[in-house]
């Protein structure tokens, strides 16, 4: 298909991009274009103006900021996946990025774009939720921070306003996190039929805090509050994990789609909460 007619600009500075967005309510930000362009070609979405941010300097870094790492708007999936910083301090996100799409998609799509796109079956949002990430949104009026837990609003809907650019994702360092999923083509290939990310902190043999999140099972990537409640304060052993598995979809609306019944997806949510937790807890030892 061919998109409807649209205007295209590629500003070279963030201010210019934000100014363009402020004065064009029908404008849409494009970073990697991996999700936006297919939607436009199918004419499911027809913005009047595309603001391509790919030529803005300074948005392509992964930085160590002491207690957290910051991933800029133009960092591609493959860079997130290969980054030693991310692998060490946010293993769940590194895996999620490595299992996003195929090589071509990973070479162009951006981690921030995956967050902003908020697909129900996307990988990296689950990792961001479990790791307790913070999204930094800029507009011509200034900058605001949005907790990951408040960022994913609904199907393909994030908390970003139309005049905002997600300039970076900040991930608090975690030495014990993991992501696992079942891809639509089996194994880790393709969007998640269901997947889960987990991050834990242990102190004195006890799980002192945890973040657990699901993807693929409902209308958005979402926190698994029941599982968190079940695991915190335990020794993180097999029984404790089983307890977390049992509560994986507590409070989560599980939906059927082409890839599975609600029953199957709820079951998978538990399986992957279990697997992600096992790996995260093993990493903490």
């Amino acid at each position: 298909m061919f998109p409807r007619e649209f205007e295209y600009v590629a500003p070279s500075s963030l201010d210019e991009a934000l100014g363009t967005l402020a004065s064009n309510p029908g404008a849409k930000v494009m970073s990697g274009g991996m999700s936006l362009i297919p939607l436009m070609k199918l004419r499911l979405f027809s913005p009047e103006l595309v603001v391509d941010i790919a030529r803005i300097d300074g948005l392509d870094a992964i930085e160590d900021r002491g207690d957290h790492i910051a991933i800029g708007a133009l960092v591609r999936h493959e860079e997130t996946a290969a980054s030693p910083l991310v692998q060490e301090h946010a293993a769940a996100l590194a895996s999620a990025a490595a299992w996003t799409g195929d090589r071509q998609v990973r070479a162009r799509g951006t981690t921030c774009g995956a967050m902003a796109h908020a697909d129900i079956a996307a990988d990296q949002p689950a990792a961001a939720l479990a790791l307790g990430a913070t999204m930094v949104a800029a507009s011509s009026g200034g900058t605001r921070e949005i907790a990951a837990a408040d960022f994913f609003v609904d199907t393909l809907t994030s908390a970003l306003e139309t005049n905002e650019i997600l300039t970076e994702v900040r991930i608090p360092k975690s030495s014990a996190s993991a992501y696992d999923k079942l891809g639509r083509r089996g194994g880790h290939t393709d969007y998640a039929v269901a997947g889960a990310a987990a991050s834990v902190a242990m102190s004195g043999g006890t799980v002192s805090s945890a973040g657990i999140a699901l993807t693929g099972v409902g209308t958005k990537p979402t926190l698994a509050a029941g599982s968190v409640e079940a695991i915190v304060g335990t020794d993180g052993g097999a029984d404790a994990i089983a307890g977390a598995v049992a509560r994986a979809t507590e409070g989560v609306t599980v939906l059927e789609d082409l890839y599975g019944s609600a029953e199957y997806k709820a079951h998978l949510a538990g399986v992957y909460v279990g697997r992600a937790l096992e790996q995260a807890i093993a990493a903490s030892h």
Partner: protein, 793 residues
């Protein structure tokens, strides 16, 4: 160094450098001056009356040159289909019968303008009841076509040629088997689901009309460009010799570019109407919903056999989904399944295949075309039977094969003479291989990762390399294309005055490597170096007449014709060389770019010197005609019947239902091999498509007839990451129906694959009580099968 090539030698594909660097020419690459672009308004309903079409707004849009409906093209007639079949109007005429059916054709100066105008057409519909479910279609609960009494178009039965009385006798005989007390009867209802044949290059058509010369040139991404040209001539009333068909590179076909499409007639028609070049290239979604689909059977197979593995009878009763209309081969596809219905076995076989229309896109040939379906039902039930009686599935097969002594010309229980075969030898080769032993060992090894392991095997025979022109009498012609039709293979070989050769063929590759294989055939015969042989294809202006590329026929039929044409050239060249070398013709040998006298390599003359004489006729030996080229037509006495044995090892994650293939092997027998690398490549691709069917692929229509999988996001195809390395080996049982002894290999990989994988998954799940898992074995379905088995245990 340039060398000549012997048959059987590995030669790297000469076409690849251009193709993989994006330097090949495809139809969509053509951009002609003043060219108009086409987009179609397509039906959002699977079955509806068209109550009104308002094109006024679209007509007024920028760049729009014409907007056509059925009123404009009705006089051209229906898209040709065989007898008993229901033909498609070129544009929907009063009624739509599947989602995506073309209703209005828009032509504009740019493609985007054409698409914008499509959005501006206002068409209204009055929905009718839809026929989606195959059992409901068979029961005629609702009818797809008004005025047609039954949704069943035709019922194929086997044994072939046996009338109702004979079939009843067979039924009675099988009932007697079933009543015996030393037998078991095993029966399974299974789905062989509808598939979308995904070619990397979507279909594309460009037509140019020359009003001055009254000549039509049609470029189409087609496997049968000669048939397209013939149809255009017939339906548009242009003499065949004023129509030129060109299929440049074709980026994958798999049978889906074999049938004639309405757009292949509409685009040339519009080019003539508007006196401007016209282009239409499908979108990916159109390729999914409007290029033909494949398979679509729902059937029950039943085996009755003794407890020690002697099968007495096999039966299959299936409903085959034709879709809403028929293209030329649609109803013939299940009949191709009848050819191989009894596989390699000698037991009594009864088949009944009811071909029904539904409100879905037409089905037609997709890699294997009827044969993968037939072999699937047979080999799945062979496996279930082996499991039931607790025997090794390989040994059960061994016990029931048609013995090698019956060849050549063994008559199969379904009524076809088969060329050559040695099935037990082929299977034994697999069983004796270290790869197979390793798989068996891996299957029986205890595992610590909680995964279930399964080993699956199956064997196959195929009928391909069509074929005998007598098939025309069974209805396998390009019926009704408005022209008398061809059913033959052909090849033309010309040695030029400088000693280079042109090989001109009418079949065209869509990935099969004709450029390389044909050059090998000619190089081997003439001793001309590979790099001095140029193979051209895909242009009816120069090509000899043939029916095209499908049914694994190109090498076996048109390759044989080319071989015979080379032989004619060689014989003439030998007479010229004998004259020049003052030797006896019988002593002339060809090698390394020239001819020499046997035993005296220095008594030699180069091809250029021979050819020069041929084109200066006064220097020719007495009585010889000038020139050094030959054309040959070939029609074999039978199809070729390749066969093989396949096995794979899988693991299944019982918690998620996720299947992964750990190892894969096959021992294929396609007779003599021209280029082992190309043959292996054909098998690789074939297996991948069979694996795709077994694991992921399914054209899913909802109850309203909406195609839910009309894009690659929801219709995943297999990529290299989804399959393991394939261990391929072969046995060699040459055919006697063509001079090179080669059998077709384009579809064999697919035909052998799907049931092997299902057999392996069922093997893994058998300890839990699972007896069958329908394809595609997506994780959710495997998991469900485990849950169901647990619940009933």
């Amino acid at each position: 160094m340039s060398t000549t090539s012997a048959l059987g030698g590995v030669v790297r594909r000469r076409e690849d450098p251009a193709l993989i660097q994006g330097k090949g020419l495809y139809v969509d690459d053509l951009n002609l001056h003043g060219m108009l672009h086409v987009a179609f308004v397509r039906s959002p309903f699977a079955h509806a009356k068209i109550t009104s079409i308002d094109t006024a707004a679209a007509q007024a849009m920028p760049g729009v040159r014409a907007v056509y409906t059925a009123d404009d093209v009705r006089h051209l007639g229906l898209l040709p289909a065989q007898a008993a079949a229901i033909g498609r109007p070129l544009l929907a005429d009063g009624e739509v019968n599947h989602m995506g059916e073309a209703v209005v054709m828009v032509l504009a100066e740019t493609r985007a303008q054409a698409q914008d105008a499509v959005d501006a057409v206002d068409a209204d519909y009055d929905p009718l009841p839809v026929v989606i479910d195959l059992k409901e279609a068979l029961a005629n609960t609702n009818l797809v076509h008004e005025g047609v009494e039954s949704n069943t178009l035709i019922t194929w039965t086997a044994p072939f040629g046996v009338e109702e009385d004979g079939l009843n006798e067979l039924r009675a005989k099988i009932d007697e088997y079933k009543a015996r007390d030393d037998v078991v009867t095993v029966s399974l209802e299974m789905v062989n689901q509808r598939l979308i044949p995904v070619a990397i290059e979507p279909r594309s058509v460009v037509a140019e009309w020359s009003a001055g010369y009254q000549q039509m040139t049609v470029h189409s991404s087609s496997q049968t460009i000669g048939a397209v040209a013939s149809a255009v001539a017939g339906m548009l009333g242009i003499p065949y010799n004023q129509v030129r068909g060109i299929a440049p590179e074709v980026g994958g076909g798999f049978g889906a570019k074999l049938a004639l499409y309405a757009d292949e007639l509409l685009i040339p028609w519009a080019a003539r109407e508007l006196d401007a070049p016209v282009k239409y290239t499908e979108t990916r979604r159109e390729a999914a919903s409007n290029t033909i689909q494949g398979r679509g059977w729902l059937g029950t197979s039943t085996i009755t056999g003794t407890r020690d593995g002697q099968v007495l009878s096999y039966e299959i009763d299936a409903i085959c989904d034709m879709g809403a209309y028929c293209q030329d081969l649609t109803v013939a596809i299940p009949f191709l399944g009848v050819f191989v219905g009894s596989g390699q076995y000698g037991f009594d076989t009864r088949m009944q295949l009811d071909c029904v229309v539904t409100n879905k896109q037409t089905t037609d040939a997709y890699r294997g075309a009827g044969r993968p379906e037939a072999i699937y039902y047979l080999e799945r039930i062979m496996d279930a039977y082996s499991r039931e009686i607790g025997m090794d599935p390989a040994q059960v097969r061994m016990k029931n094969y048609i013995p090698s002594e019956s060849f050549p010309g063994a008559m199969s229980p379904v009524g076809f003479a088969m060329d050559t075969g040695d099935y037990a030898m082929n299977l034994q080769t697999m069983l004796d291989s270290p790869e197979y032993s390793a798989m068996k060992a891996a299957r029986d090894q205890p595992r610590s990762d909680g995964k279930l392991v399964g080993l699956g095997m199956s064997t196959y025979v195929e009928a391909c390399g069509f074929g005998p022109s007598a098939l025309v009498d069974l209805g396998f012609s390009w019926s009704g294309y408005g022209q008398p039709s061809a059913f033959n293979g052909s090849g033309l070989v010309r040695v030029n005055p400088d000693g280079t050769a042109n090989v001109i063929i009418g079949t065209g590759p869509s990935g099969q490597g004709h450029q390389t294989t044909w050059a090998q055939i000619v190089s081997n015969e003439l001793g001309i170096e590979m790099d001095k042989i140029r193979v051209t294809h895909g242009d009816t202006k120069d090509a000899p007449i043939t029916i095209g590329t499908f049914g694994s026929r190109s090498a076996a039929v048109d390759g044989s014709a080319t071989f015979e044409a080379s032989r004619k050239v060689r014989e003439k060249a030998a007479r010229i060389a004998a004259d020049l070398l003052e030797a006896s013709e019988a002593d002339i040998q060809f090698a390394d770019g020239g001819a020499h006298v046997a035993g005296s390599p220095d008594k030699r003359v180069e091809w250029a010197a021979i050819a020069e004489v041929a084109y200066q006729p006064h220097r020719m030996p007495d009585g010889e005609e000038g020139g050094l080229e030959a054309h040959a037509i070939f029609s074999p006495g039978n199809a070729t019947w390749p066969f093989g044995s396949v096995a794979c090892l899988v693991t299944v994650d019982p918690e998620t239902g996720d299947v992964s293939i750990e190892q894969w092997m096959s021992v294929d027998d396609c007779g003599n091999v021209i280029n082992p690398m190309i043959v292996d490549g054909q098998i690789h691709g074939g297996i991948a498509q069979g694996v795709g069917q077994a694991l992921f692929e399914e054209a899913i229509y909802d109850d309203e007839g909406n195609l839910l999988t009309a894009g690659l996001i929801d219709y995943p195809i297999v990529t290299a990451v989804d399959v393991p390395m394939f261990n391929l080996s072969r046995t060699t049982t040459p055919t006697d129906v063509n001079p090179m002894g080669v059998k077709g290999i384009g579809e064999a990989g697919t035909i052998g694959a799907a049931q092997t994988l299902v057999n392996a998954v069922v093997d893994a799940l058998a300890p839990l009580g699972v007896k069958h898992v329908d394809m595609p074995m997506r994780p959710r379905r495997v998991w469900q099968a485990i849950q169901d088995a647990k619940a009933s245990a």
